[in-house]
């Protein structure tokens, strides 16, 4: 009875029904076949729901965005330098919100990139297993803090500290949001970079050491260059995360859509604008209401593009040692 050595009760019963024939059948017992099919259906349904949701979101974004662009020409959307859809003198220059998003995202990368890379080098090349066991979970806790907490941390702690150092800093400003957002995406950068470095074969490190390289030389001249595409992918994914981040910038950077280059004044990012309008009393179906879909589509396109680039880079990295 090798076929039912799984000793499942049902299968044994099914076999018993067939009878103790001297030639054992190799067919799937009927009960097991049915059970497998029964399991498959909900699994498929669960997978299908995610596809359906994605398709639904994209469809809604698309429909509302298209009706927005029937009123506001794309050229105006791309070239106007003011964003005032809620005022009587309406302007729809996405560049205002886009520049704020870029400012905070790039600012966050200035924090997360060097710190994340250094932390990854430390964890992958220097930390003893014991230190590693302590630091890694702490970094993961950092990733688990709700972003609204980060937002209030920026507003109530980092901004006052900045104001003491640079007195002209406004209560709402891009700098504070950037710094705190940098710490928020730090675990993502360090953890993905560390994974990329851990994937560098030990034989390459040994090759370096055998030539008289120090630990630092092995880390910076062999491990980091070999893991570079994985590290770049981590950075791109982190930028994409920063671009889409909402709570920190909505709370700490302000909601004043101004085209500003200074990180010390209030600005409004794309995500913060969407929050502002969604929470306000903008009538459903109005042009003001549709602006958030146009902004949402822009945001979606940006993060989609960044994710695709990051996946491309990662795929190239996987082929490298094979």
């Amino acid at each position: 009875m090798a076929g039912i050595s799984t000793s499942s009760v049902q299968a044994a019963a099914a076999a018993a029904q067939v009878g103790a024939a001297p030639n054992r059948s190799l067919q799937t017992p009927r009960a097991r076949g049915l059970r497998e099919r029964l399991i498959e259906a909900p699994l498929f349904a669960a997978a299908f729901v995610t596809i359906l949701t994605t398709a639904g979101i994209v469809a809604v974004l698309l429909v509302e965005t298209l009706s927005f662009f029937r009123v506001v020409p794309l050229r105006m959307f791309l070239t106007d330098t003011q964003w005032t859809p809620l005022f009587s003198d309406k302007h729809y220059g996405i560049i205002v919100l886009l520049s704020a998003t870029m400012l905070t995202s790039v600012g966050a990368m200035f924090v997360a990139l060097p710190l994340g890379l250094l932390a990854a080098i430390f964890l992958s090349e220097y930390a003893s297993p014991r230190v590693h066991r302590v630091i890694k979970p702490v970094l993961e806790i950092l990733a688990g803090i709700p972003t609204v907490v980060y937002g209030y941390f920026a507003l109530l702690f980092v901004t006052p500290a900045l104001q003491r150092m640079i007195p002209q800093t406004a209560v709402f400003n891009g700098l504070s949001a950037s710094i705190v957002m940098g710490f928020m995406i730090l675990p993502l950068v360090s953890s993905m970079s560390e994974d990329a470095m851990a994937a560098v074969p030990r034989s390459l490190r040994e090759g370096g050491y055998s030539l008289g390289a120090t630990r630092f030389e092995v880390a910076t001249r062999i491990v980091v260059p070999s893991a570079l595409s994985g590290i770049v992918a981590a950075f791109i994914l982190a930028i994409s995360r920063a671009v889409g981040e909402t709570m920190i910038v909505a709370i700490a950077a302000g909601q004043s859509p101004t085209l500003a280059l200074s990180p010390l004044v209030p600005i409004e990012t794309m995500t913060a604008y969407i929050v502002q309008v969604s929470l306000g009393d903008t009538p459903h179906g109005s042009l003001e209401y549709q602006t958030i879909f146009a902004v949402g589509s822009t945001l979606f396109l940006m993060t989609l593009l960044l994710n695709i680039i990051s996946q491309r880079v990662l795929r190239r990295f996987r082929e490298e040692y094979q």
């Binding site: 297993p129 034989s203 390459l204 090759g207 370096g208 055998s210 008289g212 390289a213």
Partner: protein, 269 residues
């Protein structure tokens, strides 16, 4: 329980200078006693082969000569390894300096994912080499008998070369640091017969200038390329010990120990 007789073969190394010696070298990985009481004198500018069945500790012994075992956190050694008279585990020896004098070639070719040129130039660069790098790269590739095959693709990735070429690139990379000793850990085991032949030919050429210690499980290879052969064997406790050491011709034709004879005639291993 077979207790191995203490090795009787120190001293005579054919009149050559001594490059390296171990004295009662022991190594543990955690609680596992990997090799016990290895006492061995390695002559300069000769090829010394370490042979024995898998798991006898021959690679472990090899990695003691350039302190590669330092990279394994749970590895611990006792006994002495002397390089040109200096205790390499002592306070006067820095592992980074040591590895600049004792190069290594690994079982599986491990070129860096860099160009052929940068692979060879890596060692000299980190060691602050101030001479003409192009010349050094060419000289090293010539010594590794690879120059003619790669001179037109120095900017291509080292990973684009064939397995045999990659291994010779790794030899060139090791030679570029201008070491005194070259440790080779089964350098041809991943290669086809023609590439293997080229590596063996190369070893015979290089021994005029370098002390070579080669780990191999290929006895024909050991008898072809080496001047001295050390035979290691692990007992039932899996701890490797030195069974016999002497001139290769003697070890292969008149082995003193019956276990050596059993191994080289292919009765086990």
């Amino acid at each position: 329980m077979v207790r191995l007789a203490p090795p009787q073969m120190t001293g005579d190394v054919g009149g050559a200078d001594e490059a390296l010696r171990t004295d009662k070298l022991n190594l543990w990985y955690g609680r596992f006693h990997a090799v016990e009481d290895i006492t061995l004198s390695v002559p300069a500018r000769r090829v010394t082969a370490l042979i024995g069945p898998s798991g006898c500790g021959k690679s472990t012994v090899l990695r003691c000569f350039n302190r590669m075992n330092d990279l394994t956190p749970e590895a611990r050694t006792t006994g002495e390894v002397r390089f040109q008279g200096i205790d390499i585990n002592g306070p006067d020896a820095d592992p980074v300096e040591l590895r600049r004098r004792i190069g290594m070639v690994f079982q599986k070719p491990n070129p860096f994912p860099k160009s052929v040129y940068d692979n060879v130039a890596f060692g000299p660069q980190i060691n602050g080499y101030r001479g003409n790098m192009d010349e050094l790269v060419e000289r090293s590739l010539r010594k590794a008998a690879l120059w003619d095959e790669v001179k037109d693709k120095l900017r291509q990735s080292g990973l684009a070369l064939s397995g045999g070429q990659q291994q010779r690139l790794c030899i060139a990379r090791a030679l570029a640091v201008e070491p005194d000793v070259l440790l080779m850990d089964e350098p041809a085991s991943a290669l086809d017969p023609i590439a293997t032949y080229k590596i063996e030919e190369l070893m015979t050429e290089l021994k005029n200038r370098y002390t070579i210690i080669v780990v191999t499980h290929n006895m024909q290879q050991a008898s072809r390329v080496s001047d001295f052969t050390a035979f290691l064997l692990a007992g039932e406790d899996r701890t490797g010990r030195l069974v016999e050491y002497g001139p290769t011709a003697e070890v292969f034709t008149h082995p003193k120990d019956e276990r050596t004879e059993a191994y080289i005639t292919g009765r086990f291993g």
